[in-house]
Symmetry: C2
Subunit: 236 residues, 2 copies
DNA sequence: CGTTCACTTGAAAGTGTTCAATTACTGTGG
DNA sequence: CCACAGTAATTGAACACTTTCAAGTGAACG
């Protein structure tokens, strides 16, 4: 999307708060914007950025590491709603209700910057582009969720996993998909996310390997046949 | 949510553009805001508000009638992503991409007001509260989508239908659920939305009737046992 | 060096789908 | 106002896919 000419974006900033800040007009006071992204935190594996029910004070932009978000139903069932890496902004769903409606857990040590919502509101009054960017980010989130809905509602187990693998292969956004990478989430997490049993994930991983589509050694994955994976992600 | 004291909201306006406009500060020029909601249209059954791929020019606030939104995968498969009534704002997912990513179809004659995005942007520069409200609306949409994700990812067929019936029973928002109502969507639409076959919907409708939970005559539905339905929507 | 957690695999059991046939509406035109 | 046509809804039976339960393997970590 529109990065102003003459401005060099920071690495891995495609869709995050950095983009949020850095894509606003060159006339904006960037040193002011920087105050938005200064409040940094590090969350260790299994640590929470925020938990369900906590009052909404800030949203979070991921600088590095990886984070999963999950919602908990009244009866205790958990649904993983996403895996997130550098650049992603989390916590936006809390704006309406004033409290976080899901929880965000670090899958591996994650660096985030905490953006107090009050600070954001303050600044966005001065810089209209900022709110516009935020709307874009939220609009993107709606789109992403819809993709998951399609996955869960209409696709078979194989299709889901194929689509999933293709998705995470292009995680750092921009650029071509990585063919080899290490996943930070467990089979159980993947299964939960894709709406199927952990065992089913395992079986399909095995099947994909037998068919030469991928090579998987625990969480280390290599995609051997992108084309066939892509075809598979479309129809059974 | 916060309706200013002393201001009488229009009927059925809980979460729409009316709320958007009318909940901004009393200091705002309401006659200006009114220009946002003047551009009215009527869409007949099976007619489209917008279709996938069309350029994003405006979003739509439903004034009356009912509308379904659906996405289409590359291979042609369709996923119904929601049923919407008075007050709902549609088209927000198009902000990032600049074109509509789903299509909105009238299930029965629907009145909408078309809000040109350019007009909205213009006004929101003058009235910061407007963009804030919009963020709330988008945040709500993210939350709603997440509910569907939970439904599709973690719930059994019976649970889904029970949850669905409870959902649409409180469609006009605010106030207690209607126990008797007429649905504007077909069994096929419901099935598609809930990620199951039309036949499965029928069977469960029948089962619910045998068990005295509901009375259903085609699209005319009466909920006979809210408590049991609620229990059912929670766990199998 | 043992214990724990993550992953894998097999077999049996469900749950929901598909295909097919039938019935019940709705709307239209004679 | 009725007959017809087309669409929507329902139901049965066989089948397919995914889950569940159970057991076993292997890697990681203190």
């Amino acid at each position: 999307m529109s990065t102003r000419p003459g401005y060099t974006p920071i690495a891995c900033t495609n869709c995050g708060i950095y983009q949020l800040c850095h894509s606003v007009g060159g006339d904006a006071d960037l040193s002011v914007l920087d105050t938005l992204v200064k409040n940094r935190k590090t969350i260790k594996r299994r640590g929470f950025l925020y938990r369900t029910g906590e009052p909404f004070k800030a949203f979070y932009a991921i600088r590095g590491g990886s984070v999963k978000t999950s919602t908990i139903a009244d009866d205790g069932r958990v649904q993983v709603t996403g895996f997130h890496g550098a650049g992603k902004v989390l916590g936006l769903d809390a704006i309406v209700t004033g409290q976080y409606n899901c929880e965000a857990t670090a899958l591996e040590t994650a660096g985030v910057c905490e953006v107090p919502f009050s600070r954001f509101e303050e600044l966005s009054k001065k810089i209209p582009d900022l709110q516009y960017k935020m709307m874009q980010i939220m609009s993107r989130e709606i789109l992403d969720n819809r993709e998951l809905i399609m996955l869960l509602g209409k696709m078979s187990a194989e299709e889901r996993l194929a689509a999933y693998l293709l998705n995470i292969s292009r995680c750092p956004e921009h650029g071509s998909p990585r063919l080899e990478f290490s996943m930070s989430m467990s089979r159980g997490d993947i299964g939960n996310y894709l709406g199927m049993a952990e065992e089913t994930i395992c079986r399909i991983f095995s099947r994909f390997q037998e068919e030469g589509l991928i090579t998987a050694q625990r969480r280390q994955v290599t995609l051997n046949d992108l084309d066939r994976l892509r075809a598979m992600a479309r129809r059974k």
